[in-house]
């Protein structure tokens, strides 16, 4: 991958890049700040009306990159242009968040929510404040409240799922991820995580589900290495590899007929083959571990094949 020196790009290129990142929601805050400081800020007025959107973007990026001074500049400029704008007020709140004035930020967001109850971004900021303060349970409560109204927001569901996972509440976490799947059935990450969670829950049914989810994830995104490993994990036929876990292995050998066992073994070998294929394509330079992993996989294959 070629790394670009963002301080040297041309004005037009910088502008296009910022636009692209802004529209796709890319989080490359340090680069954004670099482009702004070295390229665009030479003449912001030649952006025309675009400059306000750019200023907002730069403001958020600079907060992300811990450049509060720059954020203050952007907010001042925006405030001069739009003195009564809620959007600018929200930026102000985010700046307060970044400087750990959580209570003041919360006050601002409260006011914004009251003024415009239909705008979900202010409510989301409130949750973000709680998260930044480490108040996990409060955050869970807030997101639940939020999801009662805006219940088709995958971002919020995903966040809630992660929070529940931190509280070791796997079933609730599963529920949240299932919501994500309902909303965006073509996102392989949701399926992979569901697979992970189902496998964690354990039990023959759940492992079967985990297998289905991993396979789905792999179907949507064939390059998903973790799902491939997941399949290997799920297919691992009755402790072929992990003898210590034989007693409590998820697919208990008692429930499986020999033919099924064989099938599972074959699927595991398939999964290993796919993994080996992937690793062979990686040059040792980019991943010095790949050789070791390859050897390990080959050994695994031999073990499974021999049983």
């Amino acid at each position: 991958m070629v790394t670009t020196d963002w301080t040297q790009v041309s004005y037009e290129e910088g502008r296009q890049t910022l636009k692209k990142w802004r529209e796709c929601g890319v989080r490359r805050s340090e680069e954004v700040v670099e482009i702004w400081e070295h390229v665009i800020s030479r003449s912001p007025s030649s952006l025309g009306d675009e400059q306000w959107a750019v200023l907002e973007q730069v403001c958020i990026a600079s907060l992300d990159a811990a450049r509060v001074d720059l954020a203050q500049e952007c907010i001042d400029l925006l405030h001069a242009q739009f003195p009564n704008s809620n959007r600018v007020l929200k930026l102000k709140g985010m700046q307060l968040e970044a400087t750990e004035h959580f209570q003041k930020a919360l006050d601002i967001y409260e006011r914004l929510v009251e003024e415009d109850p239909n705008n979900n971004s202010y409510r989301k900021r409130k949750v973000a404040v709680l998260l930044a303060q480490g108040k996990r349970l409060d955050a869970i409560r807030a997101i639940n409240e939020y999801l009662k109204i805006f219940l088709n927001d995958p971002e919020a569901w995903l966040q809630l799922s992660e929070l529940y996972l931190l509280e070791n509440d796997v079933p609730k976490s599963v529920h949240c991820l299932e919501e994500c799947v309902l909303i965006q059935p073509l996102n392989s990450m949701y399926f992979r995580r569901l697979g992970d969670l189902r496998y964690t829950q354990g039990g023959a049914d759940n492992v079967e589900l985990a297998r289905a989810y991993y396979e789905r994830a792999l179907k949507i995104n064939p390059t998903d290495l973790r799902s491939q490993y997941g399949i290997l994990l799920v297919r691992n036929p009755s402790g072929l590899l992990l003898k210590d876990f034989q007693s409590n292995n998820q697919i208990a050998s008692t429930t499986k007929s020999p033919s099924e066992k064989k099938k599972a073994g074959l699927a595991a070998v398939d999964a290993i083959d796919n993994l080996v294929n992937r690793y062979q394509k990686i040059s040792p330079k980019s991943n010095p571990e790949s050789d070791g992993i390859l050897n390990c996989l080959e050994a695994m294959k031999v073990t499974i094949g021999s049983k």
């Binding site: 109204i149 805006f150 088709n152 799947v181 309902l182």
Partner: protein
């Protein structure tokens, strides 16, 4: 039959002015309506309603990726007799736009004025100023039935029906400029008369408008969700 030859002055003083006038009237309409209309306020409850409807639909479409227990739990949540959102929403009292509410009334009046006044005034003026010209010809032959549509104001039996009269040209411009307005003003513009008329038609034509009566939409979703047979897809 010899071809009809039009005076170039007709092009300069009738054909083009009509296009330009219709265009600028549209632009004017857009800005005047921006001035007069205040933004429609959306209630928080309406948003929630919309979200729940969407969710019910998503559950129907993508529920096959969930195991049966999860699917049933969600269906229960939406459709349960007493507590389900869809069931509760069906029993809510109806609240359509209240015709006696003065703010609603001015709103409706404004909408109608914006539609009617330019139609009557400009249409009448164009008819009066530019009547009786044959302005242009469509580049393909048409049947006689089109004469009434394309040759309004020019009653000549022997004229080929591919020719377009000035009044008809005005109407063609009015309806045909929609994409140009979209280009100039963006997609959410009020310049287009034909759209406004379609809206009116839709208002009178169909009784089931989801905005006007969410209960019907909820009932539909509720029934669809009850009917669906869950089948795990993976």
């Amino acid at each position: 039959m010899t071809d009809l030859l039009l005076d170039p002055a007709i092009r300069t003083w009738v054909f083009l002015p009509i296009v330009v006038i219709t265009f600028f009237i549209g632009i004017l309409r857009h800005y005047v309506s921006l001035l007069l209309m205040n933004k429609k306020k959306v209630e928080l409850e309406n948003i929630a309603d919309g979200q729940y409807l969407l969710r019910a639909r998503l559950l129907r479409e993508n529920g096959r990726f969930l195991p049966k227990t999860s699917f049933n739990a969600r269906r229960q949540y939406l459709c349960a007799e007493e507590t389900g959102y869809l069931s509760k929403a069906q029993q809510r009292p109806a609240k359509g736009p209240n015709p006696m509410d003065p703010s609603q009334m001015t709103e409706m009046l404004k909408g109608n004025m914006m539609n009617m006044i330019p139609m009557i005034v400009v249409g009448g003026w164009i008819n009066w100023t530019f009547s009786g010209f044959v302005t242009t010809r469509v580049p393909f032959p048409l049947t006689l039935k089109f004469k009434a549509m394309l040759q309004r104001g020019v009653d000549l039996v022997s004229l080929d029906s591919a020719w377009v009269s000035s009044a008809s040209w005005y109407f063609l411009c009015m309806f045909g400029l929609r994409s140009i307005y979209t280009l100039v003003l963006g997609s959410e513009n009020a310049a287009d008369q034909s759209k406004a008329m379609e809206d009116q038609m839709a208002m009178t034509g169909s009784a089931v408008n989801p905005q006007a009566d969410p209960r019907a939409a909820f009932k539909g979703e509720w029934e669809a969700l009850q009917m669906i047979q869950h089948q795990f897809a993976l």
